[in-house]
């Protein structure tokens, strides 16, 4: 562990979270500045039939624009993307999103495994995957996929998690580069941003 991989070749940050992750997400978004040089792609477990409210709740705290992308929408830096209710959200080669309504995974739609796994496939070693607090094992295989494709993997320190099942599941199936507290994740992202030229 603890090999810090700070460089400016990353193309995206992808974040998964479930029960107990909302505070962490808010803290991350409220500390990231407006001109952040990468897209932040988030898949957070949420109520299946509540279409509205979540983007709004995150937007209040975020300096970056938060949106649920449309199917086939291109990924842009300096944006925060949130997987919509009741759809799985994937990344596609060509750097755009696609949606699907296939079966739930780990009882979830959106499933973190799908967003993280497809991002791992598309961005390979140009991706940072972050998995936060949660009560099931969704996201563990997604993190493994990111690691297998050469990406950089971070879990929220289980000691800090409200419910550590999700990070622990990831730690059990793949190599995780760093266990960090939310404050340290914020610092990591800010340090990363400094390495980008136009930032």
């Amino acid at each position: 562990m603890v090999k810090s991989q700070l460089h400016n070749r990353y193309k995206a940050i992808v974040i998964g979270g479930s029960a107990g992750s909302f505070q962490g997400v808010v803290k991350i978004l409220s500390n990231i500045p407006e001109n952040f040089p990468l897209p932040i792609i988030m898949c957070l477990h949420r109520l299946k039939h509540v279409r509205h409210g979540f983007v709004e709740a995150l937007s209040i705290k975020s300096n970056l624009e938060v949106r649920e992308p449309y199917d086939k929408e291109g990924v842009k830096k300096g944006m925060v993307y949130l997987a919509p209710a009741n759809y799985h959200m994937s990344l596609e080669l060509g750097n755009y999103f696609s949606m699907s309504t296939e079966e739930m995974i780990n009882n979830s739609r959106p499933a973190i495994d799908i967003t993280l796994g497809s991002a791992g496939y598309v961005y390979k070693d140009r991706l940072v995957g972050i998995l936060l607090s949660g009560a099931n094992k969704d996201g563990a295989l997604g993190m493994k996929r990111i690691k297998d494709r050469g990406g950089y993997t971070i879990v929220q320190d289980p000691d800090e998690c409200m419910i550590p099942t999700m990070p622990n599941a990831a730690l059990a199936v793949t190599e995780i580069d760093m266990k960090l507290k939310v404050d340290e994740i914020v610092k990591f992202l800010l340090d990363l941003a400094k390495l980008y030229k136009k930032y």
């Binding site: 039939h49 449309y70 086939k72 994937s90 596609e92 309504t101 799908i114």
Partner: protein, 274 residues
Amino acid sequence: MKEIEIASLKRLTEFVKLNFGYDFTNYAMSSFKRRISRILELYNINSVENLITKLDTEKDFIETFIVEITVNVTEMFRDPSFWRVLRDDVIPGILLNHERIKIWHAGCSSGEEVFSMAIMLKEMGILNNATIIATDLDKDILKRAQMGKYTLKNMELNSKNYIRFQGNHKLEDYYSVKNNLAVLNPDLISNVSFRSHDLVKGDIFNKFDLILCRNVMIYFNQNLQNEVLRRFHGSLFKFGYLAIGSKESLIWCDIANKFIVVNNEEKIYKKFRD
């Protein structure tokens, strides 16, 4: 699970196209790949090459393949606010100019959307003024649509949606329970014609006042979306309506300038140029 290579997916789609006439070459890659992984797992096949062999040697496996490759997840009154707009604005708008209303459900899956439409039109007192055509690629799912039998567990969600749609009755008024299944009143769909139809290659076969194609084109790449949208445009009367899924958009498609947005939130468009 081992990563499936794009090259082997290409071989598979070419094989299926050549031998069975279904063309998946322009399906969205990530979900298509997951569907293939799932088939490999479900049927204990250890590679895409072996899947091709199975399709080649087992006569009927292509039918299973189609059933499994398509994503049929659906609900009655999915996105209740969409159905309210349909009832309160769109349908009355059509009836201002036409006595009869022609509707096409493209990608109707197990029929929940069709029954929702029938119930809504019945409550508006105009079910008999409607001609409804419901199509899908998957023949198996079309048969299920015509039976209109749904699990009670699904009916819980359907009922919740119906309540949020603010219908005039209770959803229970439209079905009876037999063997733990909700059986929708068949009279509701006595006017509906169900047909198998492939959006990838199907020609324009009729003209409509309203086309619903929700959560179907998300499985296509943008090229195919463009093609299909062109045919939807050709299948609509001037000032006819097109409804797509809540997470889809026409913004990027070639033909966007021939439609205007009627309701951006509910993704309802209107053809206003030929």
